[in-house]
């Protein structure tokens, strides 16, 4: 490897020997193409014409008035397939094509990353297989259908807890056996090097745009940038635009589940401890011996017992703060944004909305300019939200 892939002491390449050459090949290709003119022209073309970039930085007037702050929404929810995930799947998909890979495998929890991978496979003519925990397959039938419509093949995972972490395990196992022909398209800033760095690179378009947009609209940087954190990709994407601006507060919001002090939570940075999972050293939810716990959050995208290593690093050096929002608070955020702004956020993004509301209400934050990364739209969550709200649809 050219780099050790460390962020401070976090990150690295904790994988079986069989995968090392594949990671080396991937790192080489990433370093070669990330600044390649033709590659970037093609990527920019697809980001604009296929995915719908740039996305707006929308001034949420009604919510701002209600809260006495200036609230802006980075509209990643407007992208094709409904979330920021497509920024990364276009980047990695194109990279896989340039590398001559004949097949793509991916993991998915709720299905957002699976769908974003499926459509890119169909766009670029590369067959896609998506590992998805059997529990999630049953909970998210509609998304399974969407993936298969786009030509992807969904492989239900019957091992372990049958959710996202098991889907990741099986995707790794697949890749171990197929490294020559296959690219493993990881959906967040997690996994072994070079994934955390590469996924951040492809998501950093969010941060670049937001910075330009807020400077244009406000003539100054925001006071705070708030994003939800599952594996951490939408947050790293938007944070990357402001990381060197020390005066901008960066806040990551985790899925608190039933509460950080219960064992039904997904708040890895708030509650977890240092450990090794899925190829990198970061924070994990685990027991005394190091057996990985099952995470819990109402939003499938935040329902993961690990987190990207760069977030661990930013947390310990004190550059970012991490907060947890419970299922109930997230649903309040979901309703609030829908009602005040006519924008239905994904349940993941609703966590960022809910924390922004809390933040805005703190007396010391009165009048501040706040950017929320609206990482996705809520269409996928309609059935779940209705059920939680006691509505029959």
């Amino acid at each position: 490897m050219i780099s050790d892939g460390k962020f401070g002491k976090y990150g690295g390449i904790f994988v079986p020997e069989l995968l090392i050459p594949a990671l080396e090949e991937l790192e080489r290709a990433f370093l070669k193409y990330k600044d390649d003119k033709k590659f970037n022209q093609e990527l920019d073309y697809y980001l604009k014409e296929f995915a719908g970039r740039p996305t707006a930085l929308y001034y949420a007037k009604n919510l701002s008035e209600k809260l006495g702050c200036k609230i802006y929404l980075k509209r990643e929810d407007m992208l094709h397939t409904g979330a920021h995930k497509i920024n990364n799947t276009l980047g990695q998909g194109l990279l896989a094509k340039y590398m001559g890979k004949k097949r793509i495998v991916a993991e998915t929890g709720a299905g957002q990353h699976g769908i974003a991978t499926a459509v890119v496979g169909s766009l670029l003519g590369i067959p896609v297989e998506v590992y998805m925990g059997l529990e999630d397959v049953e909970r998210q039938k509609l998304n399974v259908f969407r993936m298969e419509l786009s030509g992807a093949h969904v492989l239900p995972v019957k091992t372990g807890s049958r959710t996202l972490k098991d889907a990741i395990n099986d995707a790794f196992r697949d890749w171990v056996a197929t490294v020559d022909s296959t690219h493993y398209l990881i959906g967040s800033t997690m996994g072994p090097h070079p994934y955390p760095t590469m996924v951040k690179h492809f998501q950093s378009v969010i941060g670049r745009e937001t910075r330009d947009e807020i400077l244009e609209k406000e003539g100054k940087l925001p006071d705070a940038v708030i994003a939800c954190v599952g594996g951490g990709s939408n947050a790293m994407g938007i944070f990357s635009g402001f990381i060197d601006d020390k005066e901008v507060e960066l806040i990551g919001v985790e899925g608190g589940g039933d509460g950080v002090d219960t064992d039904r939570t997904g708040a890895t940075l708030c509650k977890g401890t240092e450990g090794i999972l899925h190829g990198s050293f970061s924070f994990v939810l685990q027991n005394y011996d190091g057996q990985i716990s099952e995470a819990h959050s109402v939003s499938a995208g935040l329902d993961y017992p690990g987190v990207g290593p760069e977030h661990a690093y930013l947390k310990v050096i004190g550059r970012t703060n991490y907060e947890a929002i419970t299922n109930i608070e997230a649903l309040e955020g979901f309703e609030l944004l829908s009602k005040y702004e006519g924008i239905i956020p994904a349940l993941e993004s609703s966590h960022a909305v809910a924390y922004a509301v809390k933040y805005a209400k703190m007396p010391e934050n009165k009048g501040k300019t706040i950017v929320i990364n609206l990482s996705g739209r809520g269409d996928k969550d309609m059935f779940l939200a209705a059920r939680e709200m006691g509505v029959d649809v």
Partner: protein, 272 residues
């Protein structure tokens, strides 16, 4: 008890014109007592060394068979402390080398130094962490040297010759050669590429080599030993017997003893 080292063991079998037969079990699978009886059965039926796995919730290098064994062991209450207790119990009846197969998080959570110290005290000869490539292994290697535990590494089809030499410098005891492109699990056929890999590793390293992953029949064992491997690890095929006979312990142990005898027999007459 005086513990036999890997190098003594390899000399012992080699002098008899044999390769080493090394069966695997997950400590505590399907429960602590049965697991111990299975290990006894291994030893009584020709095991030259033992490979003991500590169960992990997310074993990415393993296929479904080992993962199921891990889950059974965890459900029966195995912990790292009980895993070491398991080794202590084994040491009451055998001195053959014991290698631990773990995932790195278990080592890290106990504390690297403490893990190796405890391993040494219990009579563990060697440790292999399935998700710890040489790039990340310096701390573990330092602890292994400090406590006289041998650190084992894997090499695979995808490992270049240059890398093989580098790994072989860090590794002690034996090199674990991964026979297949993939995770653990019983396979029908042994690929020609395995034999070629054994030859390639032999050409680039002076360490004894042991082939594992996918070795599931006496004829596989025979082939890898004939191709120059010093030993062979059999895992999933044995765990399959456990899985299939959970309700009848006597049947389980009978089948394991017959299978082990056959596997051991296949290691004989190495040079004929």
């Amino acid at each position: 008890m005086i513990v036999e080292s890997y190098s003594e063991m390899f000399q012992r079998v080699n002098s008899k014109d044999e390769g080493a037969f090394i069966p695997f079990i997950v400590a505590g699978d399907p429960d602590f007592e049965t697991s111990l009886e299975i290990v006894k059965t291994y030893v009584e039926n020709g095991a030259d060394a033992l490979e003991i796995g500590f169960a992990f919730s997310d074993p990415v290098a393993d296929g479904p068979t080992v993962q199921e064994a891990d889950i059974r062991a965890l459900n029966s209450g195995i912990t790292t402390a009980k895993g070491f207790e398991f080794i202590r119990k084994i040491r009451k009846f055998t001195s053959i080398p014991i290698g631990l197969l773990v995932y790195y998080n278990l080592i890290y959570q106990m504390g690297i130094d403490e893990f190796y110290e405890t391993a040494h005290e219990c009579g563990v000869n060697a440790i292999l962490a399935a998700d710890l490539p040489p790039e990340e292994a310096q701390d573990a290697v330092d602890a292994s040297r400090k406590y006289g535990v041998e650190q084992i590494f894997m090499v695979a089809q995808t490992t270049s010759n240059e890398r093989l030499q580098k790994i072989s410098k860090m590794c002690k005891g034996f090199l674990y050669v991964v026979a297949v492109m993939g995770v653990t699990g019983a396979r029908k056929d042994l690929k020609l590429s395995t034999v070629e890999l054994v030859e390639r590793v032999k050409n680039h390293s002076n360490l004894p080599i042991v082939v594992g992953f996918g070795i599931s029949k006496p004829e596989h064992v025979k082939n890898v030993i004939k191709s120059g491997s010093d030993g062979s690890i059999v895992a999933s095929a044995l765990l399959d017997i456990i899985t299939e006979n959970l309700k009848d312990k006597k049947m389980m142990l009978d089948k394991i003893s017959i299978f082990c005898s056959d596997l051991k027999a296949a290691t004989r007459n190495k040079y004929k």
